[in-house]
Symmetry: C2
Subunit: 307 residues, 2 copies
Amino acid sequence: VTSICLPDAEARDCVGTLPGGIDVVIWDGASDPVPGLDGVEVLVPPYMRPPTSAEALKALASLRLVQLLSAGVDSWLKRLPPGVVLCNGRGVHGGSTAELAVGGIVSSLRELPRHLDAQRAHRWDQHSGVTGLDGRRVLLLGAGDIGTRVAASLTPLGAEVTLVARHARDGVRALTELSGLLPEHQVVVIAVPYTTETHQLVDADFLASMPDGALLVNVARGAIVNTNALLAELTSERLHAFLDVTDPEPLPVDHPLWVAPHLQLTPHIGGGTLGWQQRAYRLVREQVIRFHRGEPLQNVVKVADGY
Amino acid sequence: VTSICLPDAEARDCVGTLPGGIDVVIWDGASDPVPGLDGVEVLVPPYMRPPTSAEALKALASLRLVQLLSAGVDSWLKRLPPGVVLCNGRGVHGGSTAELAVGGIVSSLRELPRHLDAQRAHRWDQHSGVTGLDGRRVLLLGAGDIGTRVAASLTPLGAEVTLVARHARDGVRALTELSGLLPEHQVVVIAVPYTTETHQLVDADFLASMPDGALLVNVARGAIVNTNALLAELTSERLHAFLDVTDPEPLPVDHPLWVAPHLQLTPHIGGGTLGWQQRAYRLVREQVIRFHRGEPLQNVVKVADGY
Protein backbone atom coordinates (compact mmCIF):
# COMPACT_ATOMS: atom_id res chain seq x y z
CA VAL A 1 0.00 0.00 0.00
CA THR A 2 1.19 3.51 -0.92
CA SER A 3 -0.07 6.30 1.31
CA ILE A 4 -0.26 9.86 -0.07
CA CYS A 5 -1.13 13.15 1.61
CA LEU A 6 -3.29 15.76 -0.18
CA PRO A 7 -3.88 19.30 1.18
CA ASP A 8 -7.69 19.34 1.26
CA ALA A 9 -10.95 17.65 0.25
CA GLU A 10 -11.13 19.66 -2.99
CA ALA A 11 -7.74 18.22 -3.98
CA ARG A 12 -9.06 14.74 -3.18
CA ASP A 13 -12.01 15.35 -5.52
CA CYS A 14 -9.76 16.66 -8.29
CA VAL A 15 -7.45 13.64 -8.13
CA GLY A 16 -10.41 11.30 -8.76
CA THR A 17 -10.47 7.53 -8.39
CA LEU A 18 -7.05 6.03 -7.69
CA PRO A 19 -5.95 2.46 -8.35
CA GLY A 20 -6.28 -0.01 -5.48
CA GLY A 21 -3.35 0.02 -3.09
CA ILE A 22 -3.16 3.84 -2.85
CA ASP A 23 -4.51 5.39 0.34
CA VAL A 24 -5.14 9.10 0.86
CA VAL A 25 -4.59 11.19 3.99
CA ILE A 26 -5.84 14.80 4.07
CA TRP A 27 -3.52 17.31 5.78
CA ASP A 28 -2.58 20.89 4.89
CA GLY A 29 1.02 20.63 6.06
CA ALA A 30 0.54 23.37 8.67
CA SER A 31 -2.15 22.34 11.18
CA ASP A 32 -1.70 19.67 13.85
CA PRO A 33 -0.62 16.28 12.51
CA VAL A 34 -3.47 13.88 11.73
CA PRO A 35 -3.51 10.08 12.12
CA GLY A 36 -1.73 8.16 9.37
CA LEU A 37 0.96 10.76 8.58
CA ASP A 38 3.72 8.45 9.73
CA GLY A 39 2.92 6.10 6.82
CA VAL A 40 2.71 8.83 4.13
CA GLU A 41 5.28 8.40 1.34
CA VAL A 42 4.06 11.17 -1.01
CA LEU A 43 3.30 14.68 0.28
CA VAL A 44 1.42 17.25 -1.84
CA PRO A 45 1.56 20.57 0.07
CA PRO A 46 -0.95 23.39 -0.61
CA TYR A 47 -0.24 25.83 -3.46
CA MET A 48 1.60 29.11 -2.72
CA ARG A 49 1.75 28.56 1.05
CA PRO A 50 4.96 28.67 3.15
CA PRO A 51 6.63 25.25 3.26
CA THR A 52 5.77 22.74 5.93
CA SER A 53 8.02 23.32 8.95
CA ALA A 54 10.85 20.96 9.71
CA GLU A 55 9.08 20.07 12.93
CA ALA A 56 5.80 19.20 11.20
CA LEU A 57 7.72 17.23 8.56
CA LYS A 58 9.02 15.00 11.35
CA ALA A 59 5.55 13.46 11.58
CA LEU A 60 6.08 12.16 8.02
CA ALA A 61 8.46 9.40 9.02
CA SER A 62 8.05 7.46 5.73
CA LEU A 63 8.26 10.47 3.36
CA ARG A 64 9.99 9.77 0.03
CA LEU A 65 8.50 12.30 -2.41
CA VAL A 66 7.29 15.91 -2.17
CA GLN A 67 5.17 16.85 -5.17
CA LEU A 68 4.67 20.65 -5.41
CA LEU A 69 1.81 22.30 -7.29
CA SER A 70 4.01 25.27 -8.31
CA ALA A 71 6.77 25.63 -10.89
CA GLY A 72 9.03 27.38 -8.37
CA VAL A 73 10.67 25.16 -5.76
CA ASP A 74 13.01 27.64 -4.05
CA SER A 75 11.18 27.77 -0.71
CA TRP A 76 11.32 23.97 -0.43
CA LEU A 77 14.86 23.23 -1.60
CA LYS A 78 16.47 23.44 1.84
CA ARG A 79 13.52 21.99 3.75
CA LEU A 80 13.75 18.51 2.34
CA PRO A 81 14.60 15.73 4.78
CA PRO A 82 17.46 13.54 3.53
CA GLY A 83 16.41 10.92 1.00
CA VAL A 84 13.31 12.77 -0.18
CA VAL A 85 12.75 13.56 -3.89
CA LEU A 86 11.35 16.97 -4.88
CA CYS A 87 9.12 17.34 -7.96
CA ASN A 88 7.52 20.53 -9.24
CA GLY A 89 4.36 21.47 -11.13
CA ARG A 90 6.08 22.14 -14.44
CA GLY A 91 3.39 22.63 -17.08
CA VAL A 92 0.59 23.41 -14.64
CA HIS A 93 1.08 27.19 -14.59
CA GLY A 94 3.24 27.49 -17.71
CA GLY A 95 0.43 28.70 -19.93
CA SER A 96 -0.90 31.31 -17.52
CA THR A 97 2.55 32.59 -16.53
CA ALA A 98 3.68 32.80 -20.16
CA GLU A 99 0.41 34.55 -21.01
CA LEU A 100 1.02 37.17 -18.34
CA ALA A 101 4.54 37.78 -19.66
CA VAL A 102 3.25 38.19 -23.22
CA GLY A 103 0.40 40.45 -22.07
CA GLY A 104 2.82 42.45 -19.94
CA ILE A 105 5.14 43.00 -22.88
CA VAL A 106 2.31 44.18 -25.14
CA SER A 107 0.77 46.33 -22.40
CA SER A 108 4.15 48.00 -21.82
CA LEU A 109 5.19 48.45 -25.47
CA ARG A 110 1.76 49.58 -26.66
CA GLU A 111 1.17 51.74 -23.54
CA LEU A 112 -2.16 50.20 -22.53
CA PRO A 113 -2.22 52.08 -19.18
CA ARG A 114 -1.99 55.39 -21.07
CA HIS A 115 -4.88 54.30 -23.27
CA LEU A 116 -6.88 53.30 -20.20
CA ASP A 117 -6.45 56.81 -18.81
CA ALA A 118 -7.52 58.30 -22.16
CA GLN A 119 -10.56 56.01 -22.17
CA ARG A 120 -11.53 57.16 -18.67
CA ALA A 121 -11.15 60.77 -19.84
CA HIS A 122 -13.29 60.07 -22.98
CA ARG A 123 -10.31 61.10 -25.08
CA TRP A 124 -9.56 59.58 -28.51
CA ASP A 125 -5.79 59.96 -28.25
CA GLN A 126 -4.29 58.29 -31.31
CA HIS A 127 -0.66 59.05 -30.50
CA SER A 128 1.96 57.39 -32.63
CA GLY A 129 5.67 56.72 -32.24
CA VAL A 130 5.18 53.55 -30.26
CA THR A 131 7.34 50.49 -30.91
CA GLY A 132 5.75 47.08 -31.13
CA LEU A 133 7.30 43.62 -31.20
CA ASP A 134 7.56 43.41 -34.99
CA GLY A 135 11.26 43.42 -35.79
CA ARG A 136 12.20 43.74 -32.09
CA ARG A 137 14.65 41.38 -30.44
CA VAL A 138 13.55 39.61 -27.27
CA LEU A 139 15.93 37.81 -24.92
CA LEU A 140 14.34 35.00 -22.93
CA LEU A 141 16.25 34.01 -19.84
CA GLY A 142 15.04 30.48 -19.20
CA ALA A 143 14.26 27.88 -21.82
CA GLY A 144 11.93 25.74 -19.73
CA ASP A 145 8.18 25.39 -20.01
CA ILE A 146 7.44 29.10 -19.50
CA GLY A 147 10.33 30.45 -21.59
CA THR A 148 9.63 28.25 -24.59
CA ARG A 149 5.92 29.11 -24.46
CA VAL A 150 6.69 32.84 -24.40
CA ALA A 151 9.12 32.42 -27.30
CA ALA A 152 6.58 30.50 -29.36
CA SER A 153 3.93 33.09 -28.64
CA LEU A 154 6.05 36.14 -29.54
CA THR A 155 7.55 34.81 -32.76
CA PRO A 156 4.30 35.02 -34.82
CA LEU A 157 4.01 38.66 -33.70
CA GLY A 158 7.24 39.45 -35.55
CA ALA A 159 9.69 39.32 -32.64
CA GLU A 160 13.11 37.77 -33.02
CA VAL A 161 13.56 35.65 -29.92
CA THR A 162 16.82 34.46 -28.34
CA LEU A 163 16.54 31.76 -25.68
CA VAL A 164 19.19 31.56 -22.97
CA ALA A 165 19.69 28.75 -20.47
CA ARG A 166 22.43 27.52 -18.16
CA HIS A 167 23.90 25.34 -20.87
CA ALA A 168 23.89 26.00 -24.63
CA ARG A 169 22.03 23.55 -26.78
CA ASP A 170 20.31 23.55 -30.15
CA GLY A 171 18.50 26.90 -30.43
CA VAL A 172 19.51 27.94 -26.91
CA ARG A 173 22.47 30.17 -25.98
CA ALA A 174 24.46 29.75 -22.78
CA LEU A 175 24.13 32.04 -19.76
CA THR A 176 27.87 32.78 -20.10
CA GLU A 177 27.12 34.66 -23.35
CA LEU A 178 24.72 37.01 -21.58
CA SER A 179 26.84 40.17 -21.51
CA GLY A 180 27.25 40.06 -25.27
CA LEU A 181 23.57 39.37 -25.88
CA LEU A 182 21.99 42.00 -23.63
CA PRO A 183 22.96 45.10 -25.65
CA GLU A 184 21.34 43.60 -28.77
CA HIS A 185 17.87 43.01 -27.25
CA GLN A 186 15.11 45.54 -26.58
CA VAL A 187 13.10 43.21 -24.34
CA VAL A 188 14.41 40.82 -21.66
CA VAL A 189 12.11 38.27 -20.01
CA ILE A 190 13.15 36.51 -16.80
CA ALA A 191 11.75 32.96 -16.64
CA VAL A 192 14.48 31.06 -14.80
CA PRO A 193 14.13 29.17 -11.51
CA TYR A 194 15.30 31.01 -8.41
CA THR A 195 18.52 29.37 -7.21
CA THR A 196 21.75 30.51 -5.61
CA GLU A 197 23.00 30.93 -9.18
CA THR A 198 20.16 33.25 -10.28
CA HIS A 199 19.95 35.21 -6.99
CA GLN A 200 20.47 38.88 -7.99
CA LEU A 201 21.42 37.79 -11.50
CA VAL A 202 19.81 40.99 -12.79
CA ASP A 203 22.12 43.44 -11.04
CA ALA A 204 23.36 46.94 -11.92
CA ASP A 205 25.81 45.56 -14.52
CA PHE A 206 23.13 43.41 -16.17
CA LEU A 207 20.76 46.38 -16.36
CA ALA A 208 23.49 48.73 -17.61
CA SER A 209 24.06 46.33 -20.53
CA MET A 210 20.45 46.70 -21.67
CA PRO A 211 19.98 49.36 -24.35
CA ASP A 212 18.20 52.67 -23.64
CA GLY A 213 14.43 52.29 -23.51
CA ALA A 214 14.59 48.50 -23.17
CA LEU A 215 11.95 46.57 -21.22
CA LEU A 216 12.62 44.10 -18.38
CA VAL A 217 9.89 41.54 -17.63
CA ASN A 218 10.08 39.34 -14.52
CA VAL A 219 7.57 36.53 -14.06
CA ALA A 220 9.95 34.28 -12.11
CA ARG A 221 11.01 35.36 -8.62
CA GLY A 222 11.58 38.85 -7.26
CA ALA A 223 15.04 38.21 -5.79
CA ILE A 224 16.47 37.34 -9.21
CA VAL A 225 16.45 41.12 -9.74
CA ASN A 226 18.32 43.61 -7.57
CA THR A 227 15.43 45.89 -6.68
CA ASN A 228 17.58 48.96 -5.93
CA ALA A 229 19.50 48.65 -9.19
CA LEU A 230 16.24 48.38 -11.13
CA LEU A 231 14.75 51.30 -9.22
CA ALA A 232 17.71 53.45 -10.25
CA GLU A 233 17.24 52.59 -13.95
CA LEU A 234 13.48 53.19 -13.78
CA THR A 235 13.82 56.47 -11.89
CA SER A 236 16.32 57.79 -14.42
CA GLU A 237 13.74 56.79 -17.05
CA ARG A 238 16.32 54.77 -18.97
CA LEU A 239 14.58 51.38 -18.71
CA HIS A 240 10.98 50.13 -18.52
CA ALA A 241 9.74 47.12 -16.56
CA PHE A 242 6.82 44.76 -16.07
CA LEU A 243 7.08 42.86 -12.80
CA ASP A 244 4.77 40.12 -11.57
CA VAL A 245 7.19 39.36 -8.75
CA THR A 246 9.09 41.68 -6.45
CA ASP A 247 11.66 41.62 -3.68
CA PRO A 248 10.27 42.02 -1.03
CA GLU A 249 6.91 40.40 -1.54
CA PRO A 250 4.24 41.45 -0.80
CA LEU A 251 5.46 44.97 -1.46
CA PRO A 252 5.05 47.23 1.62
CA VAL A 253 2.67 50.15 1.12
CA ASP A 254 5.50 52.71 1.26
CA HIS A 255 7.89 50.88 -1.10
CA PRO A 256 9.37 53.09 -3.86
CA LEU A 257 8.54 50.50 -6.56
CA TRP A 258 4.86 51.47 -6.35
CA VAL A 259 5.63 54.91 -7.76
CA ALA A 260 8.55 54.12 -10.07
CA PRO A 261 8.00 55.49 -13.59
CA HIS A 262 7.65 53.19 -16.60
CA LEU A 263 6.75 50.25 -14.37
CA GLN A 264 3.72 47.99 -14.50
CA LEU A 265 3.27 45.76 -11.49
CA THR A 266 1.05 42.74 -10.82
CA PRO A 267 1.00 40.94 -7.42
CA HIS A 268 2.50 37.51 -8.26
CA ILE A 269 -0.51 36.29 -10.23
CA GLY A 270 1.43 34.49 -12.99
CA GLY A 271 0.09 31.07 -12.05
CA GLY A 272 -3.11 30.10 -10.36
CA THR A 273 -5.72 31.05 -12.94
CA LEU A 274 -9.00 29.12 -12.77
CA GLY A 275 -8.59 25.59 -14.01
CA TRP A 276 -5.07 25.18 -12.65
CA GLN A 277 -6.33 22.68 -10.07
CA GLN A 278 -7.56 20.35 -12.79
CA ARG A 279 -4.15 20.48 -14.51
CA ALA A 280 -2.29 20.20 -11.19
CA TYR A 281 -4.17 17.20 -9.85
CA ARG A 282 -4.03 15.41 -13.19
CA LEU A 283 -0.24 15.69 -12.77
CA VAL A 284 -0.45 14.56 -9.10
CA ARG A 285 -2.60 11.59 -10.08
CA GLU A 286 -0.16 10.48 -12.80
CA GLN A 287 2.80 11.00 -10.50
CA VAL A 288 1.28 9.03 -7.64
CA ILE A 289 0.49 6.13 -9.95
CA ARG A 290 4.06 6.21 -11.29
CA PHE A 291 5.41 6.21 -7.73
CA HIS A 292 3.11 3.37 -6.69
CA ARG A 293 4.22 1.25 -9.66
CA GLY A 294 7.89 2.08 -9.20
CA GLU A 295 8.04 3.83 -12.61
CA PRO A 296 10.30 6.83 -13.35
CA LEU A 297 8.86 10.08 -11.97
CA GLN A 298 8.29 13.22 -14.05
CA ASN A 299 9.26 16.81 -13.13
CA VAL A 300 12.02 15.72 -10.79
CA VAL A 301 13.86 18.83 -9.55
CA LYS A 302 16.06 17.33 -6.89
CA VAL A 303 16.92 13.71 -6.40
CA ALA A 304 17.91 13.32 -2.81
CA ASP A 305 20.51 10.78 -1.81
CA GLY A 306 19.20 7.31 -1.55
CA TYR A 307 16.31 7.34 -3.98
CA VAL B 1 9.23 54.77 -68.22
CA THR B 2 6.93 53.95 -65.27
CA SER B 3 5.85 56.94 -63.19
CA ILE B 4 4.82 56.39 -59.56
CA CYS B 5 3.39 58.78 -56.97
CA LEU B 6 4.53 58.65 -53.33
CA PRO B 7 2.87 60.66 -50.51
CA ASP B 8 5.91 62.53 -49.15
CA ALA B 9 9.69 62.91 -49.12
CA GLU B 10 10.02 60.49 -46.19
CA ALA B 11 8.32 57.82 -48.28
CA ARG B 12 10.74 58.60 -51.11
CA ASP B 13 13.68 58.05 -48.74
CA CYS B 14 12.23 54.79 -47.42
CA VAL B 15 11.71 53.35 -50.90
CA GLY B 16 15.41 53.83 -51.67
CA THR B 17 17.08 53.60 -55.04
CA LEU B 18 14.80 52.36 -57.79
CA PRO B 19 15.83 50.70 -61.05
CA GLY B 20 16.25 52.97 -64.10
CA GLY B 21 13.01 53.68 -65.93
CA ILE B 22 10.99 54.38 -62.78
CA ASP B 23 10.21 58.05 -62.07
CA VAL B 24 8.79 59.37 -58.81
CA VAL B 25 6.25 62.16 -58.28
CA ILE B 26 5.55 63.38 -54.73
CA TRP B 27 1.88 64.18 -53.96
CA ASP B 28 -0.24 63.53 -50.88
CA GLY B 29 -3.46 62.83 -52.78
CA ALA B 30 -5.25 65.72 -51.11
CA SER B 31 -3.51 69.00 -51.97
CA ASP B 32 -3.59 70.68 -55.38
CA PRO B 33 -2.36 68.48 -58.23
CA VAL B 34 1.36 68.76 -59.04
CA PRO B 35 3.04 68.53 -62.46
CA GLY B 36 3.47 65.00 -63.80
CA LEU B 37 0.35 63.47 -62.22
CA ASP B 38 -1.19 62.80 -65.61
CA GLY B 39 1.58 60.28 -66.34
CA VAL B 40 1.42 58.46 -62.97
CA GLU B 41 0.52 54.79 -63.26
CA VAL B 42 1.03 53.74 -59.61
CA LEU B 43 -0.46 55.78 -56.73
CA VAL B 44 0.62 55.23 -53.11
CA PRO B 45 -1.73 57.32 -50.93
CA PRO B 46 -0.78 58.37 -47.38
CA TYR B 47 -1.51 55.95 -44.50
CA MET B 48 -4.80 56.25 -42.57
CA ARG B 49 -5.97 59.39 -44.39
CA PRO B 50 -9.36 59.71 -46.18
CA PRO B 51 -9.16 58.47 -49.77
CA THR B 52 -8.22 60.81 -52.57
CA SER B 53 -11.38 62.47 -53.90
CA ALA B 54 -12.83 61.41 -57.24
CA GLU B 55 -12.13 64.92 -58.49
CA ALA B 56 -8.46 64.80 -57.49
CA LEU B 57 -8.15 61.31 -58.96
CA LYS B 58 -9.13 62.78 -62.34
CA ALA B 59 -5.68 64.34 -62.53
CA LEU B 60 -4.24 60.80 -62.62
CA ALA B 61 -5.25 60.10 -66.20
CA SER B 62 -2.83 57.13 -66.59
CA LEU B 63 -3.57 55.46 -63.22
CA ARG B 64 -3.48 51.65 -63.27
CA LEU B 65 -2.59 50.62 -59.69
CA VAL B 66 -3.40 51.98 -56.21
CA GLN B 67 -1.06 50.51 -53.60
CA LEU B 68 -2.37 51.13 -50.07
CA LEU B 69 -0.17 51.08 -46.96
CA SER B 70 -2.98 49.65 -44.80
CA ALA B 71 -4.49 46.16 -44.56
CA GLY B 72 -8.01 47.58 -44.71
CA VAL B 73 -9.21 48.72 -48.13
CA ASP B 74 -12.87 49.51 -47.39
CA SER B 75 -12.61 53.28 -47.80
CA TRP B 76 -11.05 52.87 -51.26
CA LEU B 77 -13.15 50.08 -52.76
CA LYS B 78 -15.77 52.37 -54.30
CA ARG B 79 -13.38 55.17 -55.18
CA LEU B 80 -11.43 53.30 -57.82
CA PRO B 81 -11.66 54.57 -61.36
CA PRO B 82 -12.53 51.80 -63.84
CA GLY B 83 -9.56 49.70 -64.88
CA VAL B 84 -7.49 50.39 -61.75
CA VAL B 85 -6.12 47.54 -59.60
CA LEU B 86 -6.23 47.88 -55.79
CA CYS B 87 -3.50 46.30 -53.62
CA ASN B 88 -3.28 46.44 -49.83
CA GLY B 89 -0.50 46.44 -47.24
CA ARG B 90 -1.06 42.86 -46.09
CA GLY B 91 1.80 41.90 -43.80
CA VAL B 92 2.89 45.45 -43.00
CA HIS B 93 0.70 45.87 -39.90
CA GLY B 94 -0.10 42.21 -39.29
CA GLY B 95 2.41 41.80 -36.47
CA SER B 96 1.42 44.95 -34.60
CA THR B 97 -2.32 44.41 -35.03
CA ALA B 98 -2.07 40.77 -33.97
CA GLU B 99 0.06 41.85 -31.02
CA LEU B 100 -2.59 44.33 -29.88
CA ALA B 101 -5.28 41.63 -30.12
CA VAL B 102 -3.18 39.23 -28.04
CA GLY B 103 -2.32 41.93 -25.51
CA GLY B 104 -5.96 42.99 -25.36
CA ILE B 105 -7.09 39.44 -24.64
CA VAL B 106 -4.55 38.99 -21.85
CA SER B 107 -5.25 42.45 -20.42
CA SER B 108 -8.98 41.66 -20.35
CA LEU B 109 -8.78 38.09 -19.02
CA ARG B 110 -6.10 38.85 -16.43
CA GLU B 111 -7.71 42.17 -15.45
CA LEU B 112 -4.63 44.36 -15.99
CA PRO B 113 -6.64 47.62 -15.54
CA ARG B 114 -7.71 46.42 -12.08
CA HIS B 115 -4.08 45.67 -11.24
CA LEU B 116 -3.05 49.11 -12.49
CA ASP B 117 -5.54 50.71 -10.09
CA ALA B 118 -4.21 48.55 -7.24
CA GLN B 119 -0.64 49.58 -8.16
CA ARG B 120 -1.61 53.26 -8.08
CA ALA B 121 -3.19 52.69 -4.66
CA HIS B 122 -0.05 50.84 -3.40
CA ARG B 123 -2.24 47.79 -2.81
CA TRP B 124 -0.94 44.20 -3.18
CA ASP B 125 -4.27 42.72 -4.26
CA GLN B 126 -3.65 39.09 -5.13
CA HIS B 127 -7.23 38.21 -6.05
CA SER B 128 -7.84 34.84 -7.62
CA GLY B 129 -10.66 33.30 -9.61
CA VAL B 130 -9.48 34.75 -12.90
CA THR B 131 -9.61 32.68 -16.07
CA GLY B 132 -6.63 32.66 -18.40
CA LEU B 133 -6.25 31.30 -21.91
CA ASP B 134 -5.04 27.85 -20.85
CA GLY B 135 -7.77 25.44 -21.87
CA ARG B 136 -9.98 28.26 -23.21
CA ARG B 137 -11.45 28.16 -26.70
CA VAL B 138 -10.80 31.14 -28.96
CA LEU B 139 -12.72 31.75 -32.19
CA LEU B 140 -10.80 33.75 -34.78
CA LEU B 141 -12.98 35.38 -37.41
CA GLY B 142 -10.56 35.92 -40.26
CA ALA B 143 -7.81 33.56 -41.34
CA GLY B 144 -5.64 36.11 -43.12
CA ASP B 145 -2.32 37.57 -42.01
CA ILE B 146 -3.66 38.99 -38.72
CA GLY B 147 -5.89 36.04 -37.82
CA THR B 148 -3.25 33.39 -38.42
CA ARG B 149 -0.69 35.38 -36.42
CA VAL B 150 -3.08 35.70 -33.46
CA ALA B 151 -3.85 31.98 -33.67
CA ALA B 152 -0.18 31.04 -33.71
CA SER B 153 0.53 33.35 -30.79
CA LEU B 154 -2.31 32.08 -28.57
CA THR B 155 -1.78 28.36 -29.11
CA PRO B 156 1.47 28.12 -27.06
CA LEU B 157 -0.38 29.84 -24.19
CA GLY B 158 -2.72 26.84 -23.98
CA ALA B 159 -5.66 28.23 -25.97
CA GLU B 160 -7.60 26.02 -28.38
CA VAL B 161 -8.04 28.17 -31.46
CA THR B 162 -10.68 27.80 -34.19
CA LEU B 163 -10.13 29.79 -37.38
CA VAL B 164 -13.13 30.87 -39.43
CA ALA B 165 -13.11 32.35 -42.94
CA ARG B 166 -15.57 32.86 -45.78
CA HIS B 167 -14.80 29.46 -47.23
CA ALA B 168 -13.81 26.32 -45.32
CA ARG B 169 -10.38 24.92 -46.04
CA ASP B 170 -7.83 22.79 -44.23
CA GLY B 171 -7.81 23.95 -40.60
CA VAL B 172 -10.34 26.71 -41.30
CA ARG B 173 -14.11 26.51 -40.73
CA ALA B 174 -16.65 28.29 -42.93
CA LEU B 175 -18.51 31.44 -41.89
CA THR B 176 -21.76 29.53 -42.41
CA GLU B 177 -20.91 27.36 -39.38
CA LEU B 178 -20.68 30.42 -37.12
CA SER B 179 -23.91 30.02 -35.16
CA GLY B 180 -22.88 26.53 -34.06
CA LEU B 181 -19.35 27.61 -33.16
CA LEU B 182 -20.07 30.76 -31.12
CA PRO B 183 -21.61 29.07 -28.04
CA GLU B 184 -18.50 26.87 -27.67
CA HIS B 185 -15.94 29.71 -27.53
CA GLN B 186 -15.11 32.00 -24.62
CA VAL B 187 -13.15 34.49 -26.72
CA VAL B 188 -14.02 35.81 -30.21
CA VAL B 189 -11.53 37.88 -32.20
CA ILE B 190 -12.68 39.89 -35.24
CA ALA B 191 -9.93 40.08 -37.87
CA VAL B 192 -11.89 40.08 -41.13
CA PRO B 193 -11.87 42.80 -43.80
CA TYR B 194 -14.76 45.25 -43.73
CA THR B 195 -17.02 44.52 -46.70
CA THR B 196 -20.76 44.60 -47.40
CA GLU B 197 -20.72 40.98 -46.20
CA THR B 198 -19.12 41.73 -42.82
CA HIS B 199 -21.00 45.01 -42.19
CA GLN B 200 -22.80 44.52 -38.83
CA LEU B 201 -21.84 40.84 -38.87
CA VAL B 202 -21.57 41.02 -35.08
CA ASP B 203 -25.21 41.88 -34.37
CA ALA B 204 -27.56 41.10 -31.47
CA ASP B 205 -28.00 37.47 -32.58
CA PHE B 206 -24.24 36.94 -32.94
CA LEU B 207 -23.62 38.37 -29.47
CA ALA B 208 -26.53 36.41 -27.94
CA SER B 209 -24.85 33.21 -29.18
CA MET B 210 -21.69 33.97 -27.20
CA PRO B 211 -21.60 32.30 -23.76
CA ASP B 212 -21.96 34.31 -20.53
CA GLY B 213 -18.75 36.11 -19.59
CA ALA B 214 -17.24 35.71 -23.07
CA LEU B 215 -14.86 38.30 -24.52
CA LEU B 216 -15.24 40.03 -27.90
CA VAL B 217 -12.08 41.52 -29.43
CA ASN B 218 -12.30 43.77 -32.52
CA VAL B 219 -9.09 44.86 -34.25
CA ALA B 220 -10.65 45.07 -37.73
CA ARG B 221 -13.25 47.79 -38.40
CA GLY B 222 -15.81 49.30 -36.05
CA ALA B 223 -18.83 48.85 -38.31
CA ILE B 224 -18.39 45.05 -38.36
CA VAL B 225 -19.97 45.25 -34.88
CA ASN B 226 -23.41 46.68 -34.15
CA THR B 227 -22.44 49.18 -31.47
CA ASN B 228 -25.87 49.33 -29.82
CA ALA B 229 -26.16 45.56 -29.61
CA LEU B 230 -22.71 45.35 -28.02
CA LEU B 231 -23.52 48.20 -25.63
CA ALA B 232 -26.58 46.28 -24.43
CA GLU B 233 -24.51 43.15 -23.71
CA LEU B 234 -21.80 45.15 -21.93
CA THR B 235 -24.27 47.20 -19.89
CA SER B 236 -26.04 44.05 -18.71
CA GLU B 237 -22.55 42.80 -17.75
CA ARG B 238 -23.04 39.59 -19.73
CA LEU B 239 -20.12 40.06 -22.14
CA HIS B 240 -16.68 41.69 -22.04
CA ALA B 241 -14.94 43.46 -24.92
CA PHE B 242 -11.63 44.85 -26.12
CA LEU B 243 -12.09 47.25 -29.03
CA ASP B 244 -9.36 48.94 -31.04
CA VAL B 245 -11.95 50.14 -33.55
CA THR B 246 -15.39 51.63 -33.01
CA ASP B 247 -18.41 52.82 -34.93
CA PRO B 248 -18.41 55.83 -35.05
CA GLU B 249 -14.71 56.69 -35.11
CA PRO B 250 -13.31 58.76 -33.51
CA LEU B 251 -15.71 58.20 -30.67
CA PRO B 252 -17.50 61.45 -29.67
CA VAL B 253 -16.76 62.60 -26.12
CA ASP B 254 -20.33 61.84 -24.94
CA HIS B 255 -20.57 58.38 -26.52
CA PRO B 256 -21.84 55.66 -24.11
CA LEU B 257 -19.02 53.26 -25.12
CA TRP B 258 -16.56 55.33 -23.08
CA VAL B 259 -18.30 54.33 -19.86
CA ALA B 260 -19.50 50.84 -20.74
CA PRO B 261 -18.47 48.27 -18.11
CA HIS B 262 -16.07 45.43 -18.92
CA LEU B 263 -14.73 47.29 -21.95
CA GLN B 264 -11.16 48.22 -22.82
CA LEU B 265 -10.80 50.67 -25.65
CA THR B 266 -7.81 51.77 -27.74
CA PRO B 267 -8.11 54.42 -30.49
CA HIS B 268 -7.45 52.42 -33.68
CA ILE B 269 -3.76 51.91 -33.00
CA GLY B 270 -3.52 48.30 -34.25
CA GLY B 271 -1.18 49.18 -37.07
CA GLY B 272 1.29 51.99 -37.40
CA THR B 273 3.85 51.12 -34.76
CA LEU B 274 7.35 52.49 -35.35
CA GLY B 275 9.10 50.63 -38.11
CA TRP B 276 5.94 50.10 -40.16
CA GLN B 277 7.22 52.54 -42.80
CA GLN B 278 10.28 50.39 -43.42
CA ARG B 279 8.07 47.34 -43.93
CA ALA B 280 5.51 49.28 -45.97
CA TYR B 281 7.97 50.86 -48.38
CA ARG B 282 9.87 47.62 -48.83
CA LEU B 283 6.54 46.25 -50.09
CA VAL B 284 5.95 49.35 -52.25
CA ARG B 285 9.41 49.04 -53.74
CA GLU B 286 8.93 45.35 -54.60
CA GLN B 287 5.48 46.05 -56.01
CA VAL B 288 6.63 48.96 -58.17
CA ILE B 289 9.44 46.86 -59.62
CA ARG B 290 6.97 44.04 -60.33
CA PHE B 291 4.63 46.48 -62.05
CA HIS B 292 7.47 48.02 -64.06
CA ARG B 293 8.59 44.60 -65.28
CA GLY B 294 5.05 43.40 -66.01
CA GLU B 295 5.32 40.66 -63.35
CA PRO B 296 2.34 39.42 -61.29
CA LEU B 297 1.51 41.78 -58.43
CA GLN B 298 1.25 40.76 -54.76
CA ASN B 299 -1.57 41.66 -52.30
CA VAL B 300 -4.12 42.24 -55.05
CA VAL B 301 -7.50 42.93 -53.43
CA LYS B 302 -9.52 43.99 -56.42
CA VAL B 303 -8.68 43.45 -60.04
CA ALA B 304 -10.58 46.08 -61.97
CA ASP B 305 -11.83 45.38 -65.46
CA GLY B 306 -9.23 45.75 -68.10
CA TYR B 307 -6.05 44.88 -66.20
